[in-house]
């Protein structure tokens, strides 16, 4: 007899897997190029080798996750991926923060995995096999209750990895703490493997059996969007901010996927394909622009040694390339035309619209409100990135470190450049890519391929007379700009511009202390969402003597309600239970002997029950 689990390395190469493999490689290559110089700036040569080995292993493990065709192998690859990324999160192993982040990360991941294990083994119980295809055929005859339970288990399990609110708490710790090229991969790709899991296990294998599945996913996605972006707005740490945006974007992706689930159940297959297409397209886009942004944040960290936006500023002049890349990424993530984020967000809105058109009653309203939340998210994201880009790169430097920043070298620039190029290309060439992704989605849903484009330039989802063409927008935009410039020059001549100091209202000198701060920028939002953020202040008077106050120290914080009211209570409960439990082991040998006697007597009394 061989190994009782019958493990073999069987791979699957259907369009869905290939799609995810492509995304992984797409992001991994630039990140790898970037890493050479980035690592050199921080670590010893021994550690660089370790880092690169881990990095490659990380990529391989992610590829394995999306390639295996056996549930148990999937589980192994999944855990390996978590383990390797844990090592990468704790790469700066001297820092307490890294250790803490790593612990939170891997524990949360493991909790998620526990749910996955339960789901997988429940599946195994009914199917008697770990093979994807066997499970798929066997699951069709599964009773509804079990299906619902498996669905919920899978959703929680994958949701933890994806960072769905309220399971997102590890993201803002782990992503910023890893080296930037790793954060790029973690945020860009790793959390997407959870989306892969949701598509593969829930949509492909389990099959959507109730309407509320899709609705639940959409609601969770909408909450994730909002919560993610609101937390991001409050954040001053560049990488933490980006990490919260990952929560938001996972929400947007899941809006697509969730709608797809909804439409599958409703029998609207073309719409389901379109919805999944929107989700997958946003997945690629988010991978690209979030990767880009993390790399840029890494460059900033490299150049200035800080990630705190309040200490940055004016970098656009010191680091022109990085700032240009960051701007590209910011525009894409804020869904500004003609970049890729815009197209996928537009597509998601269209999906919701077409869905609302096709369904009736409360569901119609539900989808419209979801669209509104998506739009709100978009607006808040734009605000957040105005803050992120504006405070970090524009105006005057706020610290000496920022003042002495230098542009990063070729390899880092190349890494960022590739991703920036892809950001633009995915936006302009949207029609071309969407055609491919539509084929992937159709294949995943087992339906005929649909084309959502008019030609290679114009999108036309489901032929409802709705069009979008990023190339046309770009052409119009650029020609309007060109014509304006040209005609102004033609009629009015060269513009007369002279440089001077910023108007200081008669105050003698404006310094960087007079600039608007990130905290100030987000204050309106903090107040508007105070019911959720629960902000509090700390005012400390630093006194020289009893009468004279030398200075004030003012801090404002927000309460992370999920952490405070859920996780801390949970953890506290577990710890308290453990502390009470200590009473068992008091050190008294008499008590210990007593346990044995009592055990014997109880077992003898209840013997019949066993």
């Amino acid at each position: 007899m061989l190994n009782p689990l019958n493990l073999g390395l069987s791979l699957i190469f259907d369009p869905l897997s290939i799609f995810f493999q492509a995304v992984i490689i797409l992001i991994a290559v630039p990140a790898f190029i970037y890493s050479f110089e980035y690592l050199k700036a921080h670590y010893s040569s021994k550690k660089i080798i370790l880092g690169q080995v881990l990095f490659v292993l990380f990529i391989v493990s992610m590829l394995a996750v999306v390639s295996v065709s056996n549930v148990f192998m999937f589980l192994i690859a999944w855990e390996l991926m978590s383990l390797i990324s844990y090592f990468l999160v704790t790469f700066d192993s001297e820092q307490e923060k890294s250790i803490q982040a790593g612990t939170i990360y891997i524990v949360m991941t493991h909790i998620g995995t526990a749910f996955l294990i339960a789901a997988f083994f429940l599946m195994y119980k009914y199917c008697g096999s770990f093979d994807f295809s066997v499970i798929k055929t066997m699951l069709s005859s599964m009773p509804g209750t079990e299906k619902n339970i498996i669905f919920l288990l899978l959703l929680i399990g994958f949701g933890t990895k994806a960072g769905i609110v309220p399971l997102h708490i590890w993201l803002p710790y782990a992503h910023p703490q890893a080296p930037s090229h790793v954060s790029c991969l973690m945020s860009g790709v790793m959390i997407k493997t959870a989306i892969y899991g949701i598509i593969r296990f829930i949509i492909c294998m389990l099959g959507v059996s109730s309407l509320w599945w899709g609705e639940l996913v959409i609601v969770l996605a909408a909450i994730s969007c909002l919560v993610g972006v609101i937390y991001a707005l409050m954040e001053h740490d560049l990488k933490t901010l980006l990490a919260y945006h990952s929560v938001e974007n996972i929400g947007i992706i899941l809006l697509g996927i969730g709608s797809s689930m909804l439409f599958i159940k409703l029998g609207l297959i073309p719409l389901a394909i379109l919805a999944m297409c929107a989700g997958l397209y946003h997945l690629v886009n988010h991978a690209v622009f979030k990767g880009l942004l993390f790399l840029c944040a890494g460059s900033v960290y490299n150049a200035t040694g800080t990630r705190d936006m309040e200490k940055l500023g004016g970098l656009i002049k010191k680091m022109p390339w990085t700032s240009a890349y960051f701007l590209t990424g910011s525009m894409a993530i804020s869904a500004l035309p003609p970049l890729n984020g815009f197209v996928s967000e537009w597509l998601t809105l269209i999906v919701l619209f077409l869905g609302a058109l096709a369904v009736t009653g409360g569901l119609k309203l539900f989808l419209c409100l979801t669209a509104a939340i998506l739009a709100l998210t978009g607006g808040l994201a734009a605000a957040c990135f105005v803050k992120a880009f504006g405070i970090t790169f524009l105006a005057k430097p706020r610290s000496v470190k920022a003042e002495s920043a230098k542009e990063c070298g070729t390899s880092m620039n190349l890494g960022m450049g590739i991703l920036a190029f892809m950001t633009v290309a995915l936006g302009i060439g949207a029609a071309y890519f969407i055609r491919i992704i539509a084929a992937v989605s159709a294949n995943t849903l087992g339906a005929e391929t649909l084309d959502f484009t008019l030609n290679n330039f114009i999108l036309n989802p489901l032929g409802k007379g709705t069009y979008l063409s990023t190339p046309l927008i770009s052409i119009v935009f650029i020609s309007v700009m060109g014509i304006t410039l040209f005609s102004l020059y033609l009629f009015l001549g060269k513009s007369k511009v002279s440089a001077g100091p910023t108007w200081d209202c008669g105050y003698y000198k404006l310094t960087s202390r007079n600039e608007y701060t990130a905290t100030g920028f987000s204050k309106p939002f903090r107040l508007a969402f105070s019911f959720f953020l629960l902000p509090y202040k700390k005012l400390q008077k630093i006194k020289e003597s009893h009468y004279h106050i030398k200075s004030f120290r003012y801090e404002t914080h927000t309460t992370k309600i999920f952490r405070k009211y859920f996780y801390e209570n949970l953890l506290g409960g577990v710890f308290n239970t453990a502390k009470y439990m200590r009473g068992i082991q008091t050190g008294s040998i008499h008590l210990y002997l007593g346990y044995i006697l009592i055990t014997v007597i109880i077992l003898l009394i209840f013997m019949g029950r066993f």
Binding site: R582, Q585, T586, G587, S588, I589, H590, L593, G594, I596, L597, I601, L604
Partner: protein, 211 residues
């Protein structure tokens, strides 16, 4: 005859429970061992199990003579406070002992279903001896009391073995005796060490390791 001896065994067990001083405890234990030895001898004379002669000699040598001697020596040498140290008062101890004996009766009833009453009584007494030994280990503070409690448990089991199936195979019997003997010596050594390090053999003071 056997019945009297068996009841004697039970009586010594109760005497051990109510004993307040280390020397009383050891004395009672010796008495118990002696009863056991006589019982084994009676079984041997019945001729069913010839190995029992040597076993009874072994009991006499080890349990009646050597072990009590060792224990007495220890208690003299380390000049312990004679008081055993009670967690619960003697009266309550006796009540609990009675409950344990009743429990033993029930247990013996379950073990020896459909057997002659004599066997049931044997069973009750041996279970009682065991549980009372256990009781002494739990509720008496002195290290020596625990050693004796353990030996009393052993006695109970020995009684059960000889009553139910005429004792264990000879080789096993010897090996068990050997083990018990070595065990007592090792325990004795540790009693010395505890006395050395903790300046008392009150094991309730051994509570440095917890949590």
């Amino acid at each position: 005859m056997e019945l009297f001896i068996v009841l004697g065994l039970l009586a010594t067990a109760y005497a051990m429970v109510s004993a307040k001083r280390v020397s009383t405890l050891i004395g009672n234990f010796r008495l118990q061992a002696l009863f056991l030895c006589i019982l084994t001898l009676i079984e041997a004379t019945k001729g069913n199990h010839p190995g029992l002669y040597s076993v009874s000699i072994l009991i006499f040598a080890i349990k009646v003579i050597i072990i009590p001697l060792i224990l007495f020596r220890i208690s003299e040498e380390i000049k312990v406070n004679e008081n055993l140290g009670f967690f619960i008062p003697p009266l309550l101890s006796l009540i609990i002992a009675l409950i344990l004996t009743y429990f033993s009766w029930v247990l013996a009833g379950m073990v020896f279903t459909g057997q002659e009453t004599m066997l049931k009584i044997f069973g009750t007494v041996s279970f009682s001896m065991m549980f009372l030994g256990f009781f002494i280990m739990i509720f008496r503070m002195k290290a020596l009391a625990q050693v004796i409690g353990l030996l009393a448990m052993e006695n109970g089991i020995f009684l059960l073995a000889s009553a139910s199936s005429g004792g264990m195979p000879f080789l096993v019997e010897i090996a068990v005796f050997f083990d018990v003997f070595i065990g007592v010596i090792i325990l004795g050594l540790f009693v010395y060490r505890i006395n050395q390090l903790f300046t008392s053999i009150d094991v309730s003071k051994l509570n440095r390791l917890k949590g």
